[in-house]
Each structure stands twice: as structure tokens, then as C-alpha cells.
Amino acid sequence: MSEITPDGDIEVADTPGRPQPTRPGNFLRNASQSFTQSRLPVGMFHAYGHYASAVPTMDDIQKGNFSKEGWSGPGQRRNSQAHRASDHHILHWYRCRNESKKDVEKVTPDAHSLTAEPSVMEISAHDPSVPYANGYQFPPNHSKWEATLIALKGFGRYVITPVGFVITIYSLNVVGWGGMLFLILCRGTPAMVAQCKFRSFMSGSYQMSIAGLYRLLSTRCRALRMRKS
């Protein structure tokens, strides 16, 4: 499957890396390929490290590096001093990519390039510390409260993804059961003493009272010692 691009180059759309899934013989090949390239986290701490490295700081959110939609390209470039001259290329690429996604009706390549070029020329690298000639100012920093809300929304969006959901449930289980194990090991659960069956007066509302609970416990301990000796 190939198509002729407007430039006259022949573009091979059917790359060898992506076999067509309709052919039945390709099922195993697809499966093995998706396994050898799959990027599943290989452990909980892999996932923790991966996601923790992508968590924004409060400063990132307040400055706008991280917006409601996640990490923001324009926001990061606005606050970055890195390679400002190269911004044209990236903005151009990013803009073309977004436009081609949004456009429902087909635009001819010539018209597209004609409209895209001037829009790129309008954008120029600018040092944020220098005020613009036309009076434009960068948006003000978010307040702490706004930043917290953005962070919470970001976490909410992460939790409802499949990977985020599984990791959250798994972590809560480890913390919960591990916490109970810890409490037992450091003797934080003093009521968990040995139970003896031969003194079975634990019926009714007797043990609901403090005095009843005390007598219940003391009787059990006595019974246990008697059995041991």
C-alpha cells in the first residue's frame, strides 16, 4: 500500500514494523512484537519512579508549566531559557500537528502550507523578563489554592486511567495490610491475646460494659496461665 505525496515522492505507508492485523498468520507475529516492545512497568517501584518523576512541583503549577491539561509545552517554553531560537521549529511542528488533528474537512497541502507559514512568522522568541511592545503581559501566576486544585485534578485524571487505577488499588492494599502487620509486630494491638474456648460466657451484653470487658480479659489470661503451668 503506497500513495503519492504532492511532492512526487512515494511514501510507503505499510511499514514492515506494523503488519496488517487482518491476516490470520500475523497474529503470533503481532503478539510477539507487542510483547518485545511493550512498555509495561516491570515493578511497582518502576511505576512509582516513573510517575513520581513526572509529578510537577507547586512552583511548576503556579508558573503554568503544568496546566489543567497536563504538562504544557507553551508554558514550559515561556519559562525556559533553553535554545530560544529553536522555538520556531517546534512551534511549527506542534501547530501543524494540532491543526491536522482538528481539521475535519480536507485541506489541500498547498493551502495548508500557505496558511501555516505566516502564523509561524508571528511567533517570535521573547525573553519573559522584557515587557512586550504592544502591552501584552504573561498570565499571572496561579495562587496556591488554584495550584492545589490543578494538582488534585491532575491526580484525579491519573487515577481513572487503567494503569493509575491498578497502581492506586495495589498501593492502598500494601499500605493497609502492611500497616496492620506493622501494628501487630510492634504490639500495637493489645486486645489480640490468646482466646480460650473453655470459659465460654461471652454471650449477651455482658462484655459490652467496661467492667465486663476487663473481667473477660483477666479471666482469659488466668485460664491461659493455668493451662500452661
Binding site: 514494523g17 507487542s34 510483547f35 518485545t36 516492545q37 511493550s38 512498555r39 509495561l40 512497568p41 516491570v42 515493578g43 511497582m44 517501584f45 518502576h46 511505576a47 512509582y48 519512579g49 516513573h50 518523576s53 513526572a54 497536563g70 504538562w71 509545552g73 514550559q76 517554553r77 533553553a82 535554545h83 530560544r84 529553536s86 521549529h89 517546534i90 511549527h92 511542528w93 487503567p162 494503569v163 493509575g164 495495589y170 492494599n173 500494601v174 495490610w177 502492611g178 496492620m180 502487620l181 501487630i184 504490639r187 494491638t189 493489645p190 486486645a191 489480640m192 491475646v193 490468646a194 482466646q195 480460650c196 480479659l217 483477666s218 489470661c221 488466668r222 491461659l224 496461665r225 500452661k228
Partner: protein, 214 residues
């Protein structure tokens, strides 16, 4: 010894350390549940962990550089090949073929898993390769320790199982996995500070292609 007068005194009695105490029973329940949870990652992820080890050995032992390039594609969230920082910042491996003059050794296998064009306009410097060895081996050792732990947890009952060995195995397995995770965290932060790709929440690895191939 007189009967305990309050809860604090009660903890020092033998009613707590007795094997019949509910503390010991719940200790067993908690340990088995935690062991099962660790099995999900330690045993369940064996195919992926040993696939990474296979690629690592292909590179280190057979001295085939393609193994490292495959690892770079899989671990592109935190790992960068040497020479990848010199690739043009506007080059997008997802959509374009390799530009002339670029050494393919600095790109991942498959090429489309190479780092995308960074929105900050700067590519991250390359990673130190020993960190890849450390991370891959950390998770493999974690799996081996987990298998030994399973032997103790499933082969012995709570009366005969040595608690010190179980505690040691869990600690070692946890520490080794934490070391691997820490390097992924630290390196991921280093890579992303320089060249954060467009990050989407649904994908593991910060790129839309991950949900397709993963």
C-alpha cells in the same frame, strides 16, 4: 504475675506471644496477603523483567549494540543513548524517517520509539549506561528473592517458619526494587527537566504511541 490492669500491661503477658493468640493468626493472614501482592509484581512480571535481562545480556555479553537500543526504546521514559542529544530537536521519529547524517546507533529500536521532539527545545544529555544494568538487574534480583520468599511462605506453616528469614527476604527484595525505582525516578526527572515530551496521562512513558504499542 498478677492479672493485667490495663492494655499496656497486657502486652507484656504471654497471651500475646502465644501461638493461639489472634495476633499470631492475623500476622499469618497479613503476611500471606502481602506475599500474594508481591507475587503479582515479582512473579507476574517475570516475562517483561527477563525480556529486559535478555536484551541486556545481548548487549553486554554478546556485545550486540542492538540489545541496548531495544532497551532504550522500552525505557525511554528515563534512558537516553549516547549521541541522542545531538539529533535535531525538530526531528520526530514517529512520523519521519531517519535524517541523513544521523548515526542510527543513537536511536532506539524500533526507530519510532526514539525520543520525540522536545517541547522545551532542548534534548536531554545521554545517560550513564551502568544505570541500565543496575535497573534491569535490580528487578531480576527482586524476582529471585520473591521466589525464595514464596518457598518459605508456601512450604512452611506459621509454627515452623523462621520469622527472621522472612523479614530479611522482604527487606532485601524491597530495598533492591527501591534502588532500581530510585534511579528511574532520578533519571526520569533529569531527562524530563531538559526535554519534556508532550505528556499524556493514559500512556506509560509520556507519549501517545505507548498506548498503541504497549
Amino acid at each position: 504475675m498478677p492479672c493485667p490492669q490495663n492494655a499496656k500491661e497486657l502486652t507484656s503477658t504471654d497471651g500475646y506471644d502465644d501461638d493461639r493468640s489472634s495476633a499470631k493468626k492475623w500476622l499469618e493472614v497479613d503476611s500471606q496477603i502481602l506475599n500474594a501482592l508481591f507475587c503479582v509484581t515479582g512473579i507476574g512480571l517475570i516475562p517483561w523483567r527477563f525480556r529486559d535481562l535478555y536484551y541486556l545480556l545481548q548487549w553486554r555479553w554478546k556485545e550486540n549494540h542492538d540489545g541496548l537500543r531495544k532497551l532504550a526504546g522500552i525505557h525511554r521514559g528515563w534512558f537516553r543513548l549516547q549521541g541522542s542529544q545531538e539529533i535535531d530537536v525538530k526531528y520526530n521519529p514517529e512520523e519521519e524517517s531517519v535524517p541523513p547524517g544521523v548515526n542510527e546507533e543513537a536511536m532506539a529500536i524500533p526507530i519510532k520509539l526514539s525520543p520525540g521532539p522536545p517541547l522545551t527545545g532542548e534534548r536531554a544529555p545521554s545517560s550513564e549506561y551502568w544505570k541500565m544494568d543496575l535497573v534491569v538487574w535490580a528487578f531480576v534480583v527482586n524476582t529471585l528473592l520473591q521466589i525464595v520468599l514464596c518457598g518459605f511462605m508456601w512450604g512452611m506453616d506459621r509454627y515452623t517458619r523462621p520469622g527472621a528469614v522472612v523479614g530479611l527476604l522482604i527487606s532485601l527484595a524491597c530495598i533492591i526494587a527501591m534502588v532500581g525505582g530510585w534511579y528511574i525516578f532520578a533519571e526520569g526527572k533529569r531527562v524530563k527537566v531538559c526535554s519534556y515530551p508532550y505528556y499524556t496521562y493514559g500512556s506509560f512513558g509520556g507519549n501517545s504511541i505507548d498506548s498503541v504499542s504497549g
